[in-house]
């Protein structure tokens, strides 16, 4: 894999929250490595509170006020960025990196017609277009995402749209600038199953047509298994496993990934009405992480050295942050195929 084909390459990203007084800053995201090829769909899964959204906000340059990020390397389309600068990110955000959210209704401005919402984007990012070109472009974008009678629809307001339609409009507004990366944060969680598939297919098609990369965040493992080329599993602010989609689904090597997959109602559980395997306990908050492996207290395979203070160093930059990965032989075979 050559460096050139990577769209985004982040090494050792750390995000901190400032605390009041002399208390040490809270270390939220720890040593995160993330890379993304052109046109690749990367799934990020994990329970709430694992830092999925925080990571994406950082890539968007939209970290909350009380937080800051450090990294060893932040490489975007071959350019190195040594630190966060609002001015640099203003150039990327919207034009090169687009984002869609869980609830399309709250991401569109309820008081403006769709035409006006497109206008706002064109004014910022497509200054070359004339008024009639802008309208034609908006119509073609709406048609591309499968909205019928697009010209008429431009006069509509968000409340006149169904949830699925509003999410399509959101995607159309993002596509207006042909971004290289689309960050989709739980984009179908609020939609019905029948609509969900249409939106997922749309995202996939757009990614293929435009060689656009996608970071797809979800807690729905079934959805991500249909979408992603590669999956990162996050736990308590770290990526604990990164593998190709099929390897992860068939042979997860981190016990947490394994437990997540196991908690779904499987065919066998359905037929035999067997008890489901839930994960005991809950994700520790960022400032109450145990020493050593964060997952150890909930892990059925934990051993003494999982809790040692050298744990961090031992697993750093490994594809699976675990001292005793499961199915290690099979996983190795899977890694060779990649």
């Amino acid at each position: 894999m050559s460096r050139e084909s990577l769209l985004l390459d982040i090494k050792d990203l750390n995000i901190f929250f400032k605390n009041k007084g002399h208390k040490k800053d809270t270390h939220a995201i720890r040593g995160l490595d993330l890379s993304l090829k052109e046109g690749e769909i990367l799934g990020i899964v994990g329970e709430s509170g694992c830092g999925k959204s925080l990571t994406n906000l950082c890539i968007m340059g939209l970290l909350p006020d009380q937080s800051y990020a450090t990294w060893e390397q932040f490489n975007w389309r071959g350019n190195q960025y040594s630190e966060f600068k609002e001015k640099t990110w203003r150039g990327l955000r919207g034009s090169e990196i687009g984002m869609i959210f869980q609830n399309p209704m709250s991401s569109l401005n309820p008081t403006l017609s769709l035409e006006y919402q497109f206008e706002e984007i064109f004014k910022l990012h497509r200054k070359d277009l004339s008024k009639s070109q802008r309208k034609a472009e908006a119509i073609s974008l709406l048609e591309r995402v499968g909205i019928t009678q697009a010209e008429k629809r431009l006069k509509s307001y968000p409340f006149e749209l169904s949830g699925g339609m509003a999410q399509r409009v959101m995607i159309a507004t993002v596509m207006a600038t042909s971004p290289r990366l689309l960050i989709a944060d739980e984009p179908t969680t609020a939609l019905d199953v029948t609509i969900q598939n249409q939106v997922l297919d749309l995202i996939k098609d757009l990614s293929q047509e435009n060689k656009m990369s996608v970071i797809f965040v979800t807690h729905d493992l079934a959805v991500v298994s249909h979408m992603a080329d590669r999956i990162n599993v996050m736990y308590a602010g770290e990526i604990v496993e990164s593998a190709s989609c099929s390897t992860l689904i068939q042979n997860p090597s981190h016990p947490y990934a394994h437990a997540l997959l196991n908690s779904l109602p499987t065919e066998e559980a359905i037929i035999h009405k067997a008890q489901l395997k839930s994960i005991p306990g809950q994700v520790p908050s960022f400032n109450q992480r145990p020493e050593g492996c964060s997952f150890a207290p909930r892990c059925p395979y934990q051993k003494e050295d999982c809790k040692s203070s050298e744990f961090e160093q031992m697993v750093k930059h490994k594809k699976t942050r675990c001292l005793y990965p499961l199915n290690s032989l099979q996983s190795k075979a899977g890694a060779l195929h990649e």
């Binding site: 329970e47 099929s246 908690s263 109602p265 489901l276």
Partner: protein
Amino acid sequence: MNKIIEIDQLTKRYELSGGDYIDALKGIDLHLIKGETLGLVGESGSGKSTLAKILMKLEALNSGRILLKERDSQLYKPKEYFSHIQMVFQDPYSSLNPRKTIFSIITEPLVINKSLTQEELRRIAKDKIELVGLNSQVLERYPHTLSGGQRQRVGIARALTLEPEVLILDEPISALDVSIQAAILNLLIDLQKKLNLTYLFIGHDLNVIRYIADRVAVMYLGEIVEMGSTDDIFKNTKHEYTKKLINSSLDLKNDN
């Protein structure tokens, strides 16, 4: 067959401005057998939640009737009615009052419906909170200090304080993480066995419905288009809409 709830030709019409109207429920026939779980599926807008609200008397019905234990629901006094039937809501974040302790959230139905001493309230609250797998120390805390899964357990404990026989579960696990979903499903199945509860389980995840439901009813645009045993609905699907629903449901992709 012991029908604990029988719904007969139930209709609900919402009047809109300008003389328009929406028929949210168009003559629903449905029954719940004691001890079973009936899964209710369908897209948003199909009338699932309207039906739940009418069963909980949060909305009035237009025509038709609901029989609870062979007696018309209209004839019950509210206190009597709600000692038989209670509801668990989808969102454990917005369905618990953030300014009340877990103790007062759980005991509120008792305070409203029965006159009990503080001691009795304490005892019942402790009982119920332990029944749903939480430590009784939780009673002194506020909802914001609990995780989503813990909150949903509190929502279930509240629904159980009046010792009802029927629980309406409106998407009780949709807002939770997968790992927590499994724990809550296990709890619900456990409670059903222990207390011989009858569930109306509203959901959109068809694997979950297949797992938990004995029978399934499929709703579409205010009507029940198909109803039968869970096996029948998923194996001998008859209605086009049900087929569409089953086809769009995503399973873990395991083959590439």
